[in-house]
Point group: C2
Chain length 109, copies 2
DNA sequence: ACGCGTGCCTTAGATTGTCTAGGTGAGAGC
DNA sequence: GCTCTCACCTAGACAATCTAAGGCACGCGT
C-alpha cells in the first residue's frame, strides 16, 4: 500500500494494447516502455503483466511469437491483432467517457 | 456486462466521499445524487454502495446516524469525518495523478 | 572454467472491490 | 388491503491485481 503505482484495475489492458499499437514487443519490453513513457511513474508488476497478456491472447486481442532479442535471448513478442485494435479503441473510448464523468462529478459535487 | 456504468474499482469510494463533502446524505440519496450529477451515466449498484459505506465507516472516514427523511422514512445518514476529508483529498490527488499518467501514455504511445 | 548478475518468463495463492441476486420492512396512495 | 416506492442488508460469485516464489540461459568478470 505504498504510494507507488496503484493502477486502476481495468486500465492495464488498455495501456498494454496502447504500447503494442506502435509495434510488437516482448513482455519485459512492455514493462520498460510503460515505465519510460510514464516517466517512471508506472512500475508494472510482472505478476499483473503476464496474466494480463495471457488473457488478451486468449481473447484474440494479441498474438505471440517466440523470437530472439537483440541481446540474443529468447523472448515472446506480442503484437496487436485486428480485434485488438478495435478493443483498444473501445477501451480508450470507455476510459475517456468514464474519466469525463468522474471529472464532472468531482467538480460539481 | 452491458455498456452501462462499469465504474473503475477504487473510484467509488472517492465519488461517495465527494458527494458527502457537500453535506450528509443517506445511502439511497447518495445513489440518486451520483446519478443526477453524472447526468444518468452512473447507476451505482446497491450491492457495491453499501459494502463501500461499511468499509469507509469502519475506517473512520464517515459516520452514520439513523434519522427520518423528509418522507418520514428511517434512513441512515452518512457524513464525512475529518479523516474522511483528508482521505478524499488523498484519493482525489491520486486520481488526478493517475489519469494524467494514463493520458500521457496514451498520447505518446 | 566458474559464478553471478541480468534478461525474461511462469504461476500459485491471497487480497480487494464489484456485481448478481436475492431478501427485509414500512410509509403512502388507491 | 394491496401495491408502489423508499431504503437497507447480505451471501456468494467473479475479475483483476499483487505477493512471492521459482526457473532458465546468456554473457561478463575473474
Amino acid at each position: 500500500m505504498a504510494d507507488k503505482s496503484e493502477l486502476f484495475p481495468g486500465t492495464l489492458d488498455m495501456l498494454i494494447l496502447r504500447v503494442l499499437s506502435r509495434g510488437e514487443l516482448h513482455g519485459w519490453g512492455i514493462t520498460n516502455k510503460l515505465e519510460q513513457l510514464s516517466k517512471s511513474a508506472l512500475q508494472v508488476d510482472e505478476g499483473s503483466l503476464y496474466p494480463s497478456l495471457y488473457r488478451m491472447e486468449e481473447k484474440g486481442w494479441i498474438e505471440a511469437e517466440w523470437r530472439m532479442t537483440e541481446n540474443n535471448r529468447r523472448a515472446k513478442y506480442y503484437s496487436l491483432t485486428r480485434t485488438g485494435r478495435k478493443q483498444l479503441e473501445h477501451e480508450q473510448a470507455l476510459w475517456d467517457r468514464m474519466s469525463a464523468i468522474i471529472t464532472l462529478v468531482t467538480q460539481s459535487a
